[in-house]
């Protein structure tokens, strides 16, 4: 009797605990499927909180209530080591067969349905089977707006159904507003939902065996694709559409399609970053988002096809691809088709296409789109600077070079960076001053304060740069503080130039620091390498009221820096204001117009009302004083209808809100971002696309999650950037 009383008392205590957990939404689900055994019901269908302590409590409940933890204990041991389910994520019991989840045949035999590739390394063949077989990118460019369709082909090479998870990049200013899941001949358009709601829908559909897909945003330029219940041998395609504006630089338009996310450094103690781990090492980084990388002797077989149709509106004089081989066909002087060469289809470097248009034909231009429901529309205004102002005197500069010397920069990236800075030092004039700061795990600098750009000091600076090398972590925040947190010389323009690949996971902290400590300085960012973090580069330049440039592995560092330096050292106009005349404008982005540099137009977007032609007046400051310019425009020019403009404006508006969130703790900002994203059908950090095929329910309630591993970017060392040993 005493023992019975003890047992009942213990049960009572556990029930009380269960009641508490129920109230907090973390208890084991009691909506049972009577066809399952009790232990597997509770373990398989429960919603488990991600915190380890609650997992332990739930397991203990199971073990105590159902007579010892034999079954559930075995099931728990089979869970991937170190894997922690995220909040509201269902725990799937992965009952592994005798063999691991690999194809039954190890040879690449036609008809096996397994994508593998043989890489002989020291006579060792390494085959890797992954569920992403191909990505197709179709681009249409009109004026300076690109419309892009990305089709990801997922298939299941295994003998049991799977969930495929793929982390991939898109341009940081992409307005993602379309999502279609294709199963055979059937196409299902996904619905934009609040992120948590979309996740719940997807989880439930996955649990019940339906084919479903979910697209989430981890950063402005990093997304995760989930596709659930892909049956053996079956294929499911996911099509994503987005719009974005091109960059224009000194006569050249540039279109970029990023292909791989570079391995990120996350400061010690962070968990909200982007982890970089070896293939199969799930969860060892401890980061919220995690990428798996193929080792250098592995190849997945995933390849990419890409085609760009350009309608520039003006004659295209020259075109080239920075990192890839391309095939070009010209239809008219203003139209061209560019295709990625099939022999250069490994997705391990950004596709960067540059084309030059006839310089004297490019003018300041207004593009508009009228809202079909009436009541105004959307516009973008591109302000072009004069082509050359080198004959004008310039103000002395205080040039601060901040050089990333972390492990990911070692090798060719830092060599490029050093070439660029050495060349820039040679461009300084005697009235300028300069400082060189290096950062990796810590920072150090050339001198205690900026040095006058005398010949002797410039030689000293070049020698300092020549001795730099890559290694260690990426504590960029220390570099920012060292560059901005010292007294500013009021007689000089302070220009801070960062040279980095941007492979960090704490972008928000960096951007907040730039905003908080900028003062009257200007920040210029140089993205170095084959796949730099363009989101960070562009945002630093934007918040820093400067400009961005990119230095790929195939670029001439000295030449790129030469163009960049001569442009930024002499702004055409600073502190710009715009009078829109008869156009009644609202929600103009950016709220504060950036400085205008030679060869780099300023693009402003917003909403407008008004039908009448008008004169737009620009006013700004130069070294010689205040100057003004005016432009006659007709906002209701039917030839200028661009259906992408509403999405482009909304995306820019969201970006502005996100930027504000890095330094403004306004609790309403997430809700504002969510409302805009939902109203314009846009992806954001708070909204996701979800699609469920409710007509087809796959057999079984178990599945294996397979993460699509990717190659490290071209030129990046795997051994210094990817974690494989489980240590932090």
């Amino acid at each position: 009797m005493n023992k019975l009383f003890e047992f009942l008392s213990m049960a009572f205590l556990l029930l009380m605990l269960n009641a508490v957990l129920l109230l907090t939404g973390c208890a084991v689900d009691s909506h049972f499927d009577p066809s399952l055994s009790k232990s597997s019901r509770n373990y398989e269908r429960g919603l488990v909180d991600s915190r380890a302590s609650r997992q332990v409590v739930v397991r203990s409940q199971i073990e105590l209530l159902f007579g010892g933890g034999g079954t559930s204990k075995r099931l728990a041991e089979q869970a991937p080591p170190g894997s922690l389910p995220s909040l509201d994520e269902e725990v799937w019991v992965i009952v592994k067969p005798k063999r691991t989840a690999q194809p039954t045949k190890t040879d690449d035999i036609p008809g096996s349905g397994v994508l593998m590739c043989r890489i002989p390394v020291n006579n060792v063949i390494t085959n890797v089977a992954l569920p992403l077989s191909h990505t197709d990118v179709a681009v249409s460019i009109s004026a300076y707006i690109a419309s892009v369709e990305v089709t990801q082909e997922f298939h299941n090479p295994y003998d049991e159904k799977i969930e495929a998870v793929y982390v991939f990049p898109l341009p940081q200013n992409a307005a993602v507003n379309g999502f279609i899941m294709t199963i055979g001949e059937r196409k299902i358009r996904g619905i934009i939902r609040e992120r948590e709601q979309a996740q719940r829908i997807y989880n439930e559909a996955k649990r019940q065996g339906y084919v479903a897909s979910l697209l989430t945003q981890e950063r402005a330029n990093i997304f995760t694709q989930h596709v659930a219940n892909i049956e053996p041998g079956k294929r499911i395609d996911v099509n994503i559409t987005y719009f974005h504006t091109l960059t224009y630089d000194d006569g050249w338009y540039e279109f970029v399609y990023p292909m791989v996310v570079g391995p990120r450094f996350n400061p010690p103690g962070s968990t909200q970053g982007v982890g970089s781990v070896a293939r199969g090492r799930v969860g060892i980084s401890g980061q919220q988002t995690e990428l798996q990388y193929l080792s250098p002797n592995e190849r997945s077989g995933h390849d990419i096809s890409l085609a760009v149709d350009i309608n520039a509106g003006v004659t295209i004089e020259e075109i080239n691809s920075v990192n890839h081989k391309i095939n070009v066909s010209r239809e008219m002087s203003e139209q061209m088709r560019v295709e990625l060469d099939p022999n250069d289809a490994i997705p391990n470097k950004d596709f960067v296409l540059r084309y030059r248009v006839a310089g004297d034909q490019v003018k300041t231009a207004l593009l508009t789109h009228r809202d079909p429901s009436g009541g105004g529309g959307y516009f973008t205004f591109m302000l072009y600077p004069p082509q050359d102002i080198s004959n004008r005197p310039r103000q002395p500069m205080e040039m601060i070079f901040v050089m990333d010397c972390s492990g990911s920069m070692s090798g060719q990236p830092i060599a490029q960076s050093k070439d660029a800075v050495r060349h820039a030092l040679g461009c300084l004039e005697p009235q300028d001053t300069f400082q060189i700061i290096r950062f990796s795990n810590s920072t150090s600098q050339l001198g205690r304060q900026p040095l006058p750009a005398t010949a002797k000091n410039v030689r000293r600076g070049k020698q300092y740069v020549a001795n730099l090398s890559g290694g260690g972590g990426t504590m960029m925040i220390k570099g920012i503080k060292a560059a901005l947190d010292f007294p500013h010389d009021p007689e000089r323009l302070r220009f801070v130039t960062f040279l980095t690949d941007g492979y960090i996971g704490n972008e928000s902290e960096i951007l907040a620091a730039v905003h908080d400590q900028l003062g009257s300085a200007r920040v210029f960012s140089f993205g170095v390498g084959s796949s730099p973090n363009r989101y960070l580069m562009n945002r630093m330049a934007k918040l820093g009221r400067g400009a961005v440039a990119y230095l790929s592995l195939n670029d001439d560092g000295a030449k790129v820096m030469d163009n960049f330096f001569h442009r930024v050292s002499q702004p055409v106009l600073m502190d710009i204001t715009i009078d829109w005349g008869n156009m009644r404008v609202a929600d103009v982005i950016p709220a504060r117009t950036p400085d205008l540099f030679v060869g780099r137009p300023v693009i402003v977007t917003g909403r407008f009302d008004g039908d009448d032609p008008t004169t737009i007046r620009i006013k700004g400051r130069t070294a010689q004083g205040i100057v003004e310019a005016s432009f006659d425009v007709n906002p209701i020019d039917a030839a200028n209808e661009h259906r992408a403009l509403p999405a482009v404006w909304a995306r820019n508006y969201i970006a502005q809100l996100v930027d504000r969130a890095t330094y403004d703790a306004n609790v309403e900002l997430p809700q504002q971002i969510t409302e805009i994203a939902l109203n314009y059908n846009l992806m954001s950090a708070y909204t996701s696309f979800v699609a469920v095929d409710s007509k087809t329910r796959t057999a079984g309630d178990r599945g294996t999650t397979v993460n699509v591993a990717v190659p490290v970017p071209d030129g990046v060392r795997y051994d210094t950037t990817v974690r494989s040993d489980g240590t932090h």
């Binding site: 009383f5 009942l8 269960n18 196409k187 619905i191 934009i192 109203n679 095929d693 087809t696």
Partner: protein
């Protein structure tokens, strides 16, 4: 006291289980096939407005129709979809003899249903027209089918 304690514990156990079951609602998925009966008139364009009049329904996908001209999944009104109201439209510029007629499936709406209340839908074809823009007096038919 020792006799009373187990009874209290058992009662608490029963109450807890019942409360837990009440808090967890059933979730299922379904598909609504939307048909338009045009008679012998060729259908070139349509606009559909559909929402749930009864039940807890969330739209989770919009699929294109059966005919080649309506295979592409139509765009939806983003503001309306947040209230789980589907407003979709599609049109084709194909020749009349290539257009579907009779009972035509124009779209399939995939939904998630929470709870045990059987949904009821309000649906209206606000536009149905031929290639010449002539309106069609079309009948709207909704069918929900079993999962394959």
């Amino acid at each position: 006291m020792r006799t009373l304690a187990p009874i209290c514990i058992a009662a608490l156990l029963a109450v807890t289980i019942v409360c837990a079951q009440d808090d967890v609602q059933s979730v299922r998925f379904d598909a609504i096939d939307v048909y338009v009966q045009t008679g012998d008139r060729p259908l070139a364009a349509y606009q559909l407005d559909l929402s749930a009049a009864k039940g807890d329904v969330t739209i989770v996908g919009i699929e294109g129709g059966q005919s080649e001209v309506f295979t592409a999944p139509p765009y939806y009104d983003p503001a309306a979809i947040q209230n789980d109201r589907v407003i979709i439209a599609s049109f084709s510029t194909a020749a009349a003899d290539a257009l579907p007629r009779g009972k035509v499936r124009i779209a399939t709406i995939h939904v998630q249903i929470v709870g045990d209340i059987e949904p009821e839908y309000d649906a209206t074809i606000t536009v149905a027209a031929t290639v010449d823009g002539e309106p069609i007096d079309a009948e709207l038919i909704l069918e929900t089918g079993p999962t394959q």
